[in-house]
Symmetry: C2
Subunit: 387 residues, 2 copies
DNA sequence: TCGACTTTGTATATTGGTTAAACAAAGTTT
DNA sequence: AAACTTTGTTTAACCAATATACAAAGTCGA
């Protein structure tokens, strides 16, 4: 959209600056400190804070310690000003949480999915959302948004362009949910949502260049560059599961061959050469931990191929931190070793020096929380300028 | 950098909006039409245009056709208000142009490079730049910037982090050139520069989602999403040459194995199984056109592997248009067929419907012109807001 | 305990940009 | 020639940020 500059815009930008500064350092900043951090004049900060207080998004939490003068009045981001719903749509499951504006989980729901057709899934979503909305505590703004993470490509209008694992194409999911609940809805790629979750509340707090790999029934990645989600036209980037790692490898449903996710996701369970003792991750993890060799070997193979793909991404994006999330992160104990070995062998020394690989801290909740966070950001607003 | 909102910022944003609107539709817009296009008030446009006229960036070019009222005064973007220098640093060659602010080439220089050590290359660059600066016509602002495209990763401060084909690491190129010439310098990845060139002046004018593949001594890609260069922390994105397309393929200097550019760039010349009749692209192209089978087969193989990598990128980014540039675009006649065949076979029908693959229109000049354009944009300023 | 100093936060006048509305200028149409 | 259209400028009003002065509330040393 074409944006022109006027005073309303200036105010939006500065309000956003002040609000998010307080949010990120809740209960530790005074007006004076916010003024220093943002570069805004003290008076401007005072005015904007007054407005935010009226809107109940910020409260004064009491005096802090003096450093030789008047005691500062510490400002608190009022996370309980409203709630959001975060949803992760998986292939066989619908997971949802009710969060406050600070990403704290207040309620949680799980719902098994038997089919993937839109009307069935939509009905299930509506049920779960209604249930969470009813359980929401009384807050000034109520439930201010719904964020959904889906396993597929999403455009800037919240249309699911393509979700192969669900068999969806061109589903106007945002519109459908907004019509049903009359609340702003944000739709994100599942990996992008997970990346946002880990960046804001998990293993990657305040990392500038992050690569989040979501390994489950497929593989997706969320890429954070310069502290911001590198989403391009939303969800387009990071569709790395179909990165070809074997030129003449197995044919994939995507039309190509040798795609990464055929070798390093739960898809391997169906095509594995050896007979596996189980065909789902939780069961295989259980078996591996009891010493089952076939299960361990399976994870070792997947770890190796995970490492190959991760190496590609390291060589492309040179992140500071890599977080592995998704259902497969449960198997970290058996994946990590082989994966790290491949990465150590294949990446340039130049990359290795500042690189760390870790697993999701939010676990299976990361995507939901991240999706909910997108709704929070939509509610709070996030204007900024590129020069 | 932290940016706060004030009236100066508002003016910057609006000035930028007006200036670039006029630039993109030079000599066809009146003040009234600019007001409509930008959404700014007529008075605001008048004021900003007056200022731009004073700065000699815009001139009134005369009356247009009336549509039932007073004739409009058409506004012209004064491309000759200044000049920029665009440089492409290749492995064996330094190519440079002097352009006006509209990307029109005024002078051109070529300089062979015998070595890659920094001091030697820097000396060559200085010579070429000085020569172009001296030949620059007299303009109000003179030579306002230097843009360089380099075959490697570049960070946001113009530091060449890593350029394997030159053996460079952590070269503060921007700083070095700015100190030598006291003119703003922009450093870009070579593929990103090429993408910018084709987007603004070449085969991809006004395309929203573009994938530019630069295939030469290596492979890089420039990704345009939503009409803007998707560069993340500059140059990090698009380092696709080291995308692994053969899990246990040939070892690469990058530390990995089976990298794309080992199979689809000029690097194949050195590792080809069969004895090639020549080991450089121009010669092979000549041979292929005279009917040499070995040369044609070589290009066919490269085309196939180009297609494999391109398919990966299509499945990841779903662009509208793919432009193949770089030295290998000279061989389009023999590459295109095999490449298209692989792409057609491997991509999803969903992607194919809106996808077009073409070759560079600016040819070998694309990167230079794009690099120069980056300098133009730096000079003109390009403030905008994200909500 | 008192006064000097510090730090926090607010009030006031100024600045500088956009804007709506009226207006002037220069056409076309009937 | 009168009525209408379109272009571009002038005017006054508005509004957010800012510098500056100031009030409030603390610390610290003698």
């Amino acid at each position: 959209m074409k944006v022109t500059g006027d005073q309303a815009l200036v105010k939006k930008i500065n309000r956003s600056l002040v609000l998010h500064t307080i949010r990120k350092h809740s209960s530790t900043l005074s007006r004076a400190r916010v003024s220093e951090l943002t570069g805004l004049n003290k008076a401007t900060v005072s005015n904007l804070v007054a407005e935010l207080c009226e809107q109940q998004l910020v409260t004064e939490v009491g005096p802090g310690k003096s450093s030789g003068g008047r005691k500062p009045l510490l400002l608190h981001f009022n996370a309980m000003a409203g709630t959001v719903i975060g949803i992760e749509l998986r292939v066989k499951q619908l997971k949802a949480v009710l969060c406050d504006l600070g990403g704290n989980v207040l309620e949680e729901r799980d719902h098994a999915l038997e089919r993937h057709d839109l009307s069935y899934v939509l009905e299930a979503m509506k049920k779960v959302i209604s249930s969470l909305m009813e359980s929401a505590p009384d807050t000034p703004y109520g439930t201010v948004g719904i964020g959904v993470g889906v396993p597929g490509m999403v455009d800037e209008n919240g249309v699911v362009l393509f979700a192969p694992n669900l068999g969806w194409e061109m589903v106007h999911l945002r519109q459908l949910l907004e019509e049903a609940f009359s609340v702003p809805v944000t739709i994100d790629n599942e990996a992008n949502a997970g990346a946002q979750g880990e960046l804001n509340f998990g293993a990657a707090k305040d990392v500038r260049h992050l690569l989040y790999i979501s390994a489950g029934s497929g593989i997706g990645s969320g890429i954070i560059i310069g502290g911001e989600l590198y989403k391009g036209a939303r969800g387009y980037a990071g569709e790395t599961g179909h990165m070809c790692i074997e030129a003449d490898g197995r044919p994939c449903t995507c039309g190509s061959r040798g795609c990464w996710e055929l070798y390093a996701s739960e898809k391997t369970y169906d095509t594995a050469d050896v007979t596996l003792p189980a065909h789902n991750t939780p069961e295989l993890v259980r078996l591996a931990s009891t010493g089952n060799e076939a299960a361990r070997e399976q994870f070792a193979q997947m770890g190796k191929y995970l490492g190959i793909g991760v190496t590609n991404l390291i060589n492309s994006f040179n992140p500071e931190l890599i977080v592995i999330g998704g259902a497969l992160s449960e198997a970290r104990e058996w994946l990590a070793g082989p994966m790290q070995a491949v990465v150590a062998e294949r990446t340039l020394p130049y990359h290795k020096q500042q690189l760390e690989i870790t697993f999701s801290r939010l676990g299976s909740r990361g995507t939901m929380i991240g999706a909910g966070f997108a709704a929070v950001m939509h509610f709070l607003g996030h204007a900024r300028v590129t020069l």
